[in-house]
Every structure is written in structure tokens, then in C-alpha cells.
């Protein structure tokens, strides 16, 4: 017997005009609650597309559409469910929603449908988490990572670390249990080296959290440089289509532009800045300030110089702004005769020609590499923020144990305690019994109606 919870309702399709809008309802006896408002010609059949009319309180037709009834337990949530396919008018859908709310059906919380599916054993926690990832995935890489988590690759990586700690634990245990019998024990040096090895692996995994966030949410990439060094051309070259207005007159690109593109599967939020330059023009002044603001949120800054002309004071002034940020110096216009002093100042610069499109592939690769996203990288699992917190806790315990061991001789039962704690965090990552907080944080990621 499945538990039927109180009925909930939500609009399951995104807000906005569309051909079809879906209203989803779930909960014990949900059909009974709404049937007065539904005009239906035939007897209600499970999982059958009925043509129906939705009637408002006065009995007027609100809309007509398709209704499907899924009785428990054969539904997404495992409860009785109704899905209504109406016309995709936001106002109309809102009125229908209000109609159902007036019948004492509660508005669903984000992710509540999936949470109920989980609570009714329709899917396990990791699956549920992966479902959210799949819905959110904005790039091929993110999709692939979600699938990998679904397949358990991250779990097996962490399980291997756990095994290693358990092995160490076994040695410490043996020292307690068999102190009377001469059995092999670990020296302090061996213990320390095992601990350090595990710590290193955890830290390596922790580094992927940024990359994991990048592949889910994208990289904020800013392009700066004095006017007319070819920032817009570079933007276009990276994007592959004409977007910003490109003219040979300095200061043409006034509007801050944001356009999504992906670099080898990683979403890039490319920020084309209004030229950061000294100006008296109040309109341009505002653009300059906004550019400076945006700079701070960038994960990567492309600092563009013109390789065909000597550097000017403004180049250095802008460089001052970006030199402490994650940045790449891009020497553009390599199709023109080269001015040697530019590379003398910026030997690390990567030479490209935005106009001809040469060096662009290398630049893309460099960006990914610098952000730890290079596809050539061996690590193929990326952790999420939830995992990060637990892994950090585990790393912290191990680190403090290493410190204590290096300065002191500890009783084995105290070492044990630290090891057990470190192990317990790893176990929580791979989906030990979900506490309410864990569940809450996972399901809050869902949009309403899922």
C-alpha cells in the first residue's frame, strides 16, 4: 500500500504563451476533488486521453483539452494523478490553477512531485538527484555527468577512497585487538603516508566542484582591452556568428552583450564589455563602470592587445585591472605585421587573428584548460556542492589527524574515531540514509511541477 498524501497541484509547463500548457495534480482522491469542474463524456478510464471541458465555478467553459487519469500506484508519484493538457495561455492556466486551489488542493512546492515519487519508492535518492541534474543540464557535458552519476561512477570513486580508509582502520583495529599476539602493525610513517594519499585524492575531487559548477551553470568570460583592439571580432570568432556591431570606429560597442555559447560542450556566458577607456561622455562612462562591475564576476578574463601596434598607456592601465584576475593575454591581429615590443611585454600572450579565425581553437582549448575543464583531463567525474561540503568535512578530519599524528602519539581508539568520522562523511556522499536536510536540499532544486 502506497501512502497517498494530501492533493497538490502545479502548472508543469514554463510560464509563457505556448501551444499546450500542462496542469499536474497528485494525491489521494484527487479526481474526486476536481470532477465537478470537469465535463467528461465517457466514464473515466485509467491512462486514457479523455477530451474534456474545464468548467469554472459558474459552470462556464474555461477551456477544453485532454485529461489523463493515472490511479495509484501506476503513476509518476505513485499516488492518484491527473494531468490536464490545456491551451498554453498563462492567464487561462492561472485561472484553472486558482479553480483547483479553491477546491482545497494545495500548491505544490518545488520538486514535490519527485519527492513523493521518491518517498513512495518509485526512485532512489541518487536517481532523484540525477533527475534534477538532467533537467538542469545546459550542456552536453553536464548531461553526460548527470548520466555518469546515475550510472554510479562518482560513487565508485568515493567508495574506493572509503575502502582505503577502512584498510587503515583495520590496521589500527588490529593493533588494539591483537596487542597480545604479534601481528603486523603499521608504523606511524606508513599510517601518515596512507592518510596523505587519501587526502590528496579527496582534494583532487574537491577541485572538480568548480568545474562541476562550470559545466552545469557555465563560465562567465569577459573580454577587455582598449578600444579597437578587436574585442568584438574575437567575441564573434569565439561565438562563430556575427553578434556585436563591428566597425572600425572606436567605441561602437556600447551595449553590454551577453550571449550563450558552448565551448566543447561547456556553456560560456561571454561578456563583451563596453571599452574600458577614459571618457567624458556620460553614456560611455556608465558603460565603463558597468564593465568594471562585470569584470569581478568573470571566471576568466581575456585581455586583448593589438600585436601590430606599440602598446599604449591605456593597455597597461587596463592590464592593471585584470592582472590579479584569472586571465589570458590575447595578442590579436597576428595577420598584420608584428610589433616586437608587444610580446616583449607579454611573452605569455597567445597570438590569434580574430578576423581570419586563426589561433581561435587554441584559445578555446587554453580557456578550458585554465579552468580545469580540459577534456584531456583524466578526472571524468565532477562533484556537486552537496558533495563538496561532505568531502571538505572529511578532508578536514583527515588533515587534523595528520597534524596530530605528526606532533603527538595518539591512542589508537582516538585515531579510530577520527577515521570513522572521515569515513562517515564519505558514506553520506554515496547516499547513506537521507536525513531530512539532505532530502530538503536535493528536492528544492526542482522546479514546481516536477
Amino acid at each position: 500500500m502506497l501512502r497517498q498524501r494530501e492533493p497538490i497541484v502545479a502548472i508543469a509547463t514554463p510560464y509563457g504563451e505556448s501551444a499546450i500548457g500542462v496542469i499536474r495534480l497528485s494525491g489521494g482522491g484527487v479526481w474526486e476533488r476536481i470532477k465537478d469542474s470537469i465535463f467528461i463524456r465517457s466514464k473515466l478510464k485509467p491512462r486514457y486521453a479523455h477530451y474534456v471541458k474545464v468548467l469554472d465555478k459558474e459552470g462556464h467553459v474555461l477551456d477544453e483539452g485532454i485529461l489523463i487519469y493515472y490511479p495509484s500506484p501506476n503513476s509518476y508519484t505513485g499516488e492518484d494523478m491527473v494531468e490536464l493538457f490545456l491551451h498554453g495561455n498563462p492567464l487561462l492556466l492561472k485561472k484553472a490553477l486558482e479553480l483547483f486551489l479553491s477546491k482545497g488542493i494545495r500548491l505544490a512546492e518545488p520538486g514535490e512531485f519527485t519527492k513523493r515519487a521518491f518517498l513512495n519508492g518509485k526512485m532512489d535518492l541518487l536517481q532523484a538527484e540525477a533527475v534534477a541534474d538532467l533537467i538542469e543540464a545546459r550542456s552536453e557535458l553536464a548531461l553526460r555527468n548527470a548520466q555518469r552519476q546515475l550510472q554510479g561512477e562518482l560513487s565508485s570513486y568515493i567508495r574506493a577512497l572509503r575502502e582505503r580508509l577502512l584498510e587503515l582502520l583495520a590496521y589500527v583495529e588490529a593493533d588494539i585487538e591483537f596487542s597480545e599476539e604479534d601481528i603486523p602493525t603499521l608504523t606511524k610513517e606508513q599510517t601518515l603516508s596512507m592518510l596523505k594519499e587519501v587526502l590528496k585524492s579527496i582534494e583532487k575531487l574537491l577541485q572538480t566542484v568548480k568545474a562541476g559548477e562550470f559545466i552545469k551553470k557555465g563560465i562567465n568570460l569577459a573580454i577587455v582591452g582598449k578600444p579597437n583592439v578587436g574585442k568584438s571580432s574575437l567575441f564573434n570568432a569565439l561565438l562563430g556568428v556575427e553578434r556585436a556591431i563591428v566597425t572600425p570606429i572606436p567605441g561602437t560597442t556600447r551595449d553590454f552583450l551577453q550571449e550563450s555559447l558552448t565551448l566543447k560542450g561547456v556553456p560560456i556566458n561571454l561578456i563583451d564589455t563596453a571599452g574600458i577607456r577614459l571618457t567624458e561622455d556620460p553614456v560611455e562612462r556608465m558603460g565603463v563602470e558597468r564593465s568594471l562591475e562585470r569584470l569581478k564576476s568573470a571566471h576568466m578574463v581575456l585581455f586583448v592587445v593589438d600585436i601590430s601596434r606599440p602598446l599604449e598607456e591605456e593597455d597597461f592601465r587596463i592590464y592593471q585591472l585584470v592582472k590579479d584576475l584569472e586571465h589570458i593575454v590575447v595578442a590579436n591581429k597576428r595577420d598584420l605585421p608584428e610589433e616586437p615590443s608587444v610580446l616583449a611585454y607579454f611573452p605569455q600572450a597567445i597570438k590569434v587573428s580574430a578576423r581570419q579565425g586563426s589561433g581561435i581553437e587554441e584559445l578555446k582549448e587554453l580557456i578550458l584548460e585554465r579552468l580545469g575543464l580540459s577534456l584531456r583531463d583524466a578526472v571524468q567525474v565532477y562533484i556537486s556542492v552537496r558533495h563538496e561540503d561532505l568531502l571538505k568535512k572529511s578532508a578536514k578530519v583527515i588533515k587534523s589527524l595528520i597534524n596530530k599524528l605528526e606532533t603527538d602519539d595518539l591512542f589508537p581508539e582516538i585515531i579510530m574515531l577520527d577515521l570513522r568520522e572521515a569515513v562517515s562523511y564519505l558514506e553520506e556522499v554515496i547516499g547513506a540514509v537521507g536525513t531530512e536536510e539532505v532530502l530538503g536540499s536535493i528536492f528544492s532544486r526542482f522546479c514546481i511541477g516536477k
Binding site: G121, K122, L125, S179, F411, E413, G431, V433
Partner: protein, 614 residues
């Protein structure tokens, strides 16, 4: 032919049987103990010792529940030691050498003088079951005794077979007849029967050992005792100066290992005669040599079997090699060059019933009123047996009274941990208790066994009013002192800095209670209170951490699973999980979570079904 009526029958007079029979009788149940030989009640079949790491803590727990093992060893011990004293107090454990004859005589005397307890020298060959309930037991000669509950504590006697090289004969213990009838009973009722194996070394003639070349191993002074109730009552230490025997240490040599390798095919185990599974943790010397080929020597303790016997027990040298090879083998050790053997070493194989057939009350799931304790559950060790024995005896008596049986939780005792391990995970090899089996190691210590379990012992009627009052009084004092040490402050220099600390903080650090005395603080007078306060405050922050680590677990422990729960109706379970849950019928979600192959997802589904998730 029905001759008499009893509440509880205990089959076996070994370490499990004794505790079961005594507990049952002391709770007021009319109890009968069946033994094959009334002279061997309390016989130590193998080593002449009680206690050891984890095991010593179990003896204290048995004592706190009003059991006999601790008192028996205190009265008959010839050497006492606290193990692991170079490590923290949480893993200390008492161990003692016993005078085997005195131990046996003590136990027999206690059983003989116990009110409500009747001893019968007879073999039970069948148990009569009606409507899945025990109603009577039947003896070899055809007598029937009406009973309400039965505790099976047959040890290694159930279909026992001894192996010495290629010689083999039926026996329950060296040259004593085995018990054969009950195996049929189990087969008839659909219980699986497995073969387990254990072994014992030869006994050596003390007069033929050259002790002058050996390293002596003395006892502790003051010696630790096991029973809280042995004089001086109210502590776990004897007065200093107790007379104690010496043990000696010797080692195997490359020659020993060569002899073993050369004759390996002649052992019962490697020769293929023994099919039973032997203990990994108390292995025969041939096992050790095969499994650790890189080790060039193994430690052997030479332990006297008593004050007035010349028999020496060589701890670590059990074997199933032919007797003539045993001679050669033993004589390859330093000090034993001219040793004479009194009794040969042997291996023994016996029937056991997988403990997954049991509830954590030690009652079988198939037959109400039928309880199992000791080796029949696949355990090794006197202490493990006795720990199960007392629980089985208590529950058999409760069944006879028509009351609900009890079970011990993992967070309150090692007995609880052992029983939970047995009934939840089952055994693939003889089970020995370790402190590492406990996730509550810092909480379940030897020093606080009495504080953990006295209340239960008293409520069951196994501790007297007076005894319980003393424990309560000491517990109160401990609490008051802990409170006191937390409320005071004293300036102490740490490095160059002088800062105020509470005495409890100082104890958690390097300080001892005697250091506090030096700083001008009053300290507890009662030795038990003093020790307990020191341990408690030293470990307090760690115990808190341990508690936190176990919180989630504990929550699951509190959620009971109805015994009539229909797992086929719980959604979201894999077929495997469903089958396992149906088979094990766990009593709590916590127990379910420990069943092999039960995943967190299964537990989540269970919690969801029970409505305990949201």
C-alpha cells in the same frame, strides 16, 4: 512417558549452559540442566583462561546482569592481567589464567546449590514441538520432561568428531562421547545444519620444560578482578600482593615451520578430512604458517592449567597433525627440546545452526520457546558462550512466565553487539568478539559495565536490592564529582601562558586525578568513583563525538519493524532486498540496515513505507 514438569530445560553444562540455567533459576523458573556428565559442569575444554580483549568486557557485563563467570574466575584465577594498558582506558580489558579444576568445581558447587535448579545426567535426544511451540524434551532412555522453554547449549558436542592426523572418532570433547540425537530434530524441523571446526593444542609436562631459557610473563599488581561483587566489593581491583602464577613466552622456529610444511598433507584440515570452517582468529599453527609464509616466528604462551597440576597449555600451538608429528613439532621450540606430551592436540568438528534462524532474543524464529546459545550459534570462546547463555536463560524464563523476551541493544553492551551481529549478519566462520565490532567502543568499556547494566540486572531479579543500591550510590557520586570538576577553575601554565582551566579540561588533556590532588583539589575517596570520574572526563569530548557519529544509527534503532509486516507490499524494494527482509524479519530498521546486501535505498524505502521519513 512423562515424568516431571519444568519451566525451563537447559541442555549443556558448559559456559553457556551454566549462565542460562543459573539466570533462569534465579529468576524463579523451575529449571533443569541436562549434562552428559555431571562431573564436567564448567569444564574449560580449551585454554585455561577467562577474559581477553573485548571478552573481558563481556565477563563484566555478565557480572552486571547477575551472572557467575566473573565470580568464578575471581575465586579460581591464578594470574590476573589488564590488557592494552599502554593504550587508552577505553580499550583496556581484563584477562586471567584459571586453575581449571578449581574453576570446574566452583561452577559445579554453585549450580548444585542453586535454588530452583535441578541437574540431570542424561542426554536429550529430541524436543517435542506442538503448534510451533516447545512442549517437552525426550531423553535417550525415553523419558519425557514437560517444559515451556528449552535452551540449547551443546557446545562442540553436537555430532562432534575429533581429528588427529588421519585418526578420527566421534567425541564432543577429548574422549567424551558426543551428543547425536538433536541433529535429527533440527533436520526434521527444517533448520539448516552446518559444520564448524575448532581445535586445541597438546598439554605439556611441566617437568620436561626448561624454563631457564624462557621469558617469564607475570601478572599485574594490583591484579584486576572481574566481578564487582568479589571482595573488596564495589571495585574492579583486588588488593595488591595477591599470590599469582607465572606464565612463560616462547616462539616457533624455522624448524617448526619446516616440520609443519613437510607434514601439511597429514593434517586433518589440509589433508581434506575436515570440511568444517575453522576460526580465522584463533587458528591452528599450520593455518598460521600457511597464511603468513613471511613470518619466521609465532609467539607461544606457556600457561599453567592450575596450581597443583603439571599440565601446561601452549597457547598458540593448536594443531591437527598426527601425534608423532606433534612430538617433533613441539620439541622444535626453545625450552621445549625435551618436552613430553600428556594429551595430544586435536581438531574438532561439530554441528551448528546458522544464527540467522534466531531473533535477537536468541529464540528461534521457527519454534517458540526454543533458544540457542554458544557454539551452536557459530561462536567460539567461553565468554561469548556465557554472554549468550545468560541472555538465553533470561528469555527462556520470561517465556515460561508468559512475559515478552528482552534483547540487548548495540549501544548498551557487547553482548548486544554480538547477538545483533549473529542474528543479523550470520556467521561464515566461527565468531569471536572484538572491540572493533562495536561502533560504541568508547562508551562500552570494562570499567562501566556495572553502570550500564545493573539496572536491567536488578529489574530482572538477578541483582539484589542491596547490590543495586550500592551501584546507584556510586553512580551518584560519580555524577557529583564530574559536576564538581566541571564547575571549578584553576590557573595552569601551558607553555609560557598561564590560563584558567576547569579540572575536567585538564583531565581531558594530559592530567590525571592525582595531578588534580597536587593542584589542591579534593579527589574522590572511593577507588571506583575515582577511576570512573577520571575515565569519564578524559574521554568525554571523544564519547560525545562517538555519540554524534552514531546518531543516525540510533534513530534507526528506535524504529521498530512489525513482525507481521508484509514486505511484498512495501514499494520500491528490489527482489533481493524483499527476500532478505522476509527471511531475516529484522525487529528494528537499524537491524535491517545491517543485513548484508540491504542498501541505503532499501532503508529509505522502508522508512517511507513506515511513514518515518517525512
Amino acid at each position: 512417558m512423562l515424568v516431571e514438569e519444568f519451566d525451563v530445560a537447559v541442555i549443556g553444562g558448559g559456559h553457556a549452559g551454566i549462565e542460562a540455567a543459573l539466570a533462569s533459576a534465579r529468576m524463579g523458573a523451575k529449571t533443569v540442566m541436562f549434562v552428559l556428565n555431571a562431573d564436567t559442569i564448567g569444564q574449560m575444554s580449551c585454554n585455561p583462561a577467562i577474559g581477553g580483549i573485548a571478552k573481558g568486557i563481556v565477563v563484566r557485563e555478565i557480572d552486571a546482569l547477575g551472572g557467575e563467570m566473573g565470580k568464578a574466575i575471581d575465586h579460581t584465577g591464578i594470574q590476573f592481567k589488564m590488557l592494552n594498558t599502554r593504550k587508552g582506558k577505553a580499550v583496556w580489558s581484563p584477562r586471567a589464567q584459571a586453575d581449571k579444576k578449581l574453576y570446574r568445581e566452583y561452577m559445579k558447587r554453585v549450580c548444585e546449590n542453586q535454588e530452583n535448579l535441578y541437574i540431570k545426567q542424561d542426554e536429550v535426544v529430541d524436543i517435542i514441538v506442538e503448534k510451533d511451540r516447545v512442549v517437552a524434551v525426550k531423553t535417550r532412555l525415553g523419558l519425557e520432561y514437560k517444559v515451556k522453554a528449552v535452551v540449547i547449549a551443546t557446545g562442540t558436542f553436537l555430532n562432534g568428531t575429533i581429528y588427529i592426523g588421519d585418526k578420527t572418532f566421534p567425541a564432543g570433547r577429548a574422549w567424551e562421547p558426543p551428543s547425536t540425537g538433536l541433529s535429527e530434530f533440527y533436520k526434521r524441523h527444517g533448520f539448516p545444519l552446518w559444520r564448524f571446526k575448532t581445535g586445541t593444542p597438546a598439554r605439556l609436562d611441566k617437568r620436561t620444560i626448561d624454563f631457564s631459557v624462557l621469558e617469564p610473563a607475570p601478572g599485574d599488581d594490583p591484579p584486576p578482578k572481574f566481578s564487582f561483587w568479589t571482595e573488596p566489593v564495589g571495585s574492579y581491583w583486588f588488593e595488591p600482593g595477591k599470590k599469582q602464577a607465572l606464565c612463560y613466552i616462547t616462539y616457533t622456529t624455522p624448524k617448526t615451520h619446516e616440520i609443519i610444511r613437510k607434514n601439511l598433507h597429514r593434517t586433518a584440515l589440509y589433508g581434506g578430512l575436515i570440511k568444517g570452517i575453522g576460526p580465522r582468529y584463533c587458528p591452528s599453527i599450520e593455518d598460521k604458517v600457511v597464511k603468513f609464509p613471511d613470518k619466521d616466528r609465532h609467539t607461544v604462551f606457556l600457561e599453567p592449567e592450575g596450581w597443583d597440576t603439571i599440565e601446561i597449555y601452549p597457547n598458540g600451538l593448536s594443531t591437527s597433525l598426527p601425534e608423532e608429528v606433534q612430538w617433533e613439532l613441539y620439541r622444535s621450540l626453545p625450552g621445549l627440546e625435551k618436552v613430553e606430551l600428556i594429551r595430544p592436540a586435536y581438531a574438532i568438528e561439530y554441528d551448528m545452526v546458522p544464527p540467522t534462524e534466531l531473533y535477537p532474543t536468541l529464540e528461534t524464529k521457527k519454534i517458540r520457546g526454543l533458544f540457542h546459545a554458544g557454539n551452536i550459534n557459530g561462536t567460539t570462546g567461553y565468554e561469548e558462550a556465557a554472554g549468550q547463555g545468560i541472555l538465553a536463560g533470561i528469555n527462556a524464563a520470561l517465556r515460561a512466565f508468559g512475559k515478552e523476551p528482552i534483547y540487548l541493544r548495540r549501544d548498551e553492551s557487547y553482548i548486544g553487539i554480538m547477538v545483533d551481529d549473529l542474528v543479523t549478519k550470520g556467521v561464515m566462520e566461527p565468531y569471536r568478539l572484538f572491540t572493533s565490532r562495536s561502533e560504541y567502543r568508547l562508551k562500552l568499556r570494562q570499567d562501566n559495565a556495572i553502570l550500564r547494566l545493573a539496572k536491567k540486572g536488578y529489574e530482572l531479579g538477578l541483582l539484589s536490592e542491596e547490590q543495586y543500591k550500592l551501584v546507584k550510590e556510586l553512580e551518584k557520586q560519580v555524577e557529583e564529582w564530574v559536576e564538581f570538576y566541571k564547575s571549578q577553575k584553576v590557573a595552569v601554565a601551558v607553555g609560557s601562558e598561564v590560563k584558567p582551566y576547569t579540572p575536567s579540561q585538564l583531565l581531558t588533556a594530559e592530567y590525571t586525578i592525582n595531578d588534580l590532588k597536587r593542584l589542591g583539589f579534593e579527589v574522590p575517596e572511593h577507588p571506583y568513583v575515582k577511576e570512573e570520574v577520571e575515565v569519564l572526563l578524559k574521554y568525554e569530548p571523544y564519547i560525545e563525538r562517538e555519540e554524534k557519529l552514531n546518531e543516525r544509527l540510533k534513530r534507526l534503532e528506535d524504529i521498530e519493524l512489525p513482525q507481521d509486516l508484509d514486505y511484498s507490499k512495501v514499494p520500491g524494494l528490489t527482489t533481493e532486498a524483499r527476500e532478505k527482509l522476509k527471511k531475516f524479519r529484522p525487529v528494528t530498521v537499524g537491524q535491517a540496515s545491517r543485513i548484508d546486501g540491504i542498501t541505503p535505498a532499501t532503508i529509505t524505502a522502508l522508512l517511507a513505507y513506515l511513514g518515518k521519513l517525512d
